[in-house]
């Protein structure tokens, strides 16, 4: 069973890895769509993070195990993708999945 603290850590990590790798990800992007996707992912990860902090400071939220596991696994997939220097479209798909999992995690905690 995950704690609210662990869930917040996953959201924190998702935003950090998105913005800290932005320059490297963009330098590898070959298409406009890929560039736009990377930038949109940062904006979504940012929204997820600040909503999570506001939520953490105002309500504990119930257990959201499935969403937490999905978000944590998505982070591991993104890390592996970067380390394997996978093609940007592949990485972008995983970035989107990771941030979407984090957004679902927050939605579940809000419910």
């Amino acid at each position: 069973m995950s704690s609210a603290v662990e869930r917040l850590a996953v959201v924190d990590h998702n935003y950090r890895q998105a913005k800290n790798n932005e320059a490297a990800d963009l330098s590898r992007a070959q298409t406009e769509a890929a560039v736009a996707g990377i930038m949109a992912n940062i904006a979504n990860a940012r929204l997820a993070y600040y909503e999570a902090v506001a939520l953490a400071l105002t309500a504990g939220g119930p257990g959201v195990e499935a969403a937490f596991t999905a978000a944590r696994d998505a982070q591991a997939t993104i890390k592996a993708s970067r380390e394997a220097l996978e093609l940007v479209p592949t990485l972008l798909g995983k970035l989107k999945s990771g941030t979407a999992a984090v957004q679902e995690l927050i939605a579940a905690a809000k419910a």
Partner: protein
Amino acid sequence: MVTTEMSWRGGGVPGLGRAKANLESVRLPMSRYACATLVAVLLSACSGIDRDSAKALGGAGQKATQAMADQTALAARTTGSLSEWWAVRDTLSCIHRQVDSRPGCIADKAATDPDARLTAAQKQIGEIMRKRSDAAVALRNAYQAFANLATYDAGAETEAALQGAFGAVNELTAAVAVLAPGLTALAPISSTFTTVVSSAGGIVASERQRHLLLVASRDLHRAINTMIAALTVELDQAAVTSLLGMLVSERMDVYAGLVHSGVITPVEALTPLLTEIAPGAKPSAQANSDVVRATAVASIKQRARQEEAAVKSTYEATLAAFRALSAEHRRLENDKSVDVSVILAQSQRIEAIAKAVFKKQEKGGSQ
């Protein structure tokens, strides 16, 4: 009053009716005298607060609570600045686009309104941090009044300050209590200072002052213990330390973007490093190559990590200062000598980090 009056009435010896009637005529003035005497005797027996120790603890309490107030007020202000930082950072990131697609990227960023949900979360966080700062400021005022009470008759000032502090602390703990339902340490607290002031009239002034100091210390002690309970709620602690670190990270992102884009020269960004390892060195103006720019950004990222760790540690330092305050209140109330060195050391540490990391952004972002 009730106890004294009953002792007069208790003397129901048969045949003493007249004497009793005479006594009845002087009962009220004498009962006041007896009450005042009794209170004075009781206070002499129980009040052992040393005024100099109280003054020292009051001063240390002001430092510790001021440090927390500064830290949280700066975090609130920084949260308010985020919209501009994000707009700048996101527009600067267009530098990473191919030259022919940059105008489109810049136009997109200029046309994008801030996300309403993000703005709402940002506002909510700012308000929470401001409430924390308000609670710390109210406690600082109460410690100031406590120190004044050790110097002169500041009973009314202390009473008002304690009421204000308890109100602000209750507001903070009510918000945190949602995160830890059932935690009795976060139950609302109330001051006992008013009652004691009104019932302690007529006694020797110095004893009255020492007794008021004892009651005020117990009030502050309870308020600090409640603050400790609030600050140690795990989720609250995790969220606030994450936020403090993220605010540093956001600032450094903008800084790195300004270096990437050429607004700040890499040499300027490397100045802290040069000062550290080669003081007095004159960096070459010819050195502004891509490699030097990348080096400057690497240096910024490393410094960001160090600053994040330092800022996060101020949360623990605040707790350490408050715990030491609580321990010294206990000693003061038990007529033992007070040592405020730990409180002052932790407070100075928080102030130094806040000054080094947060306040420089108020001076225009120079590193």
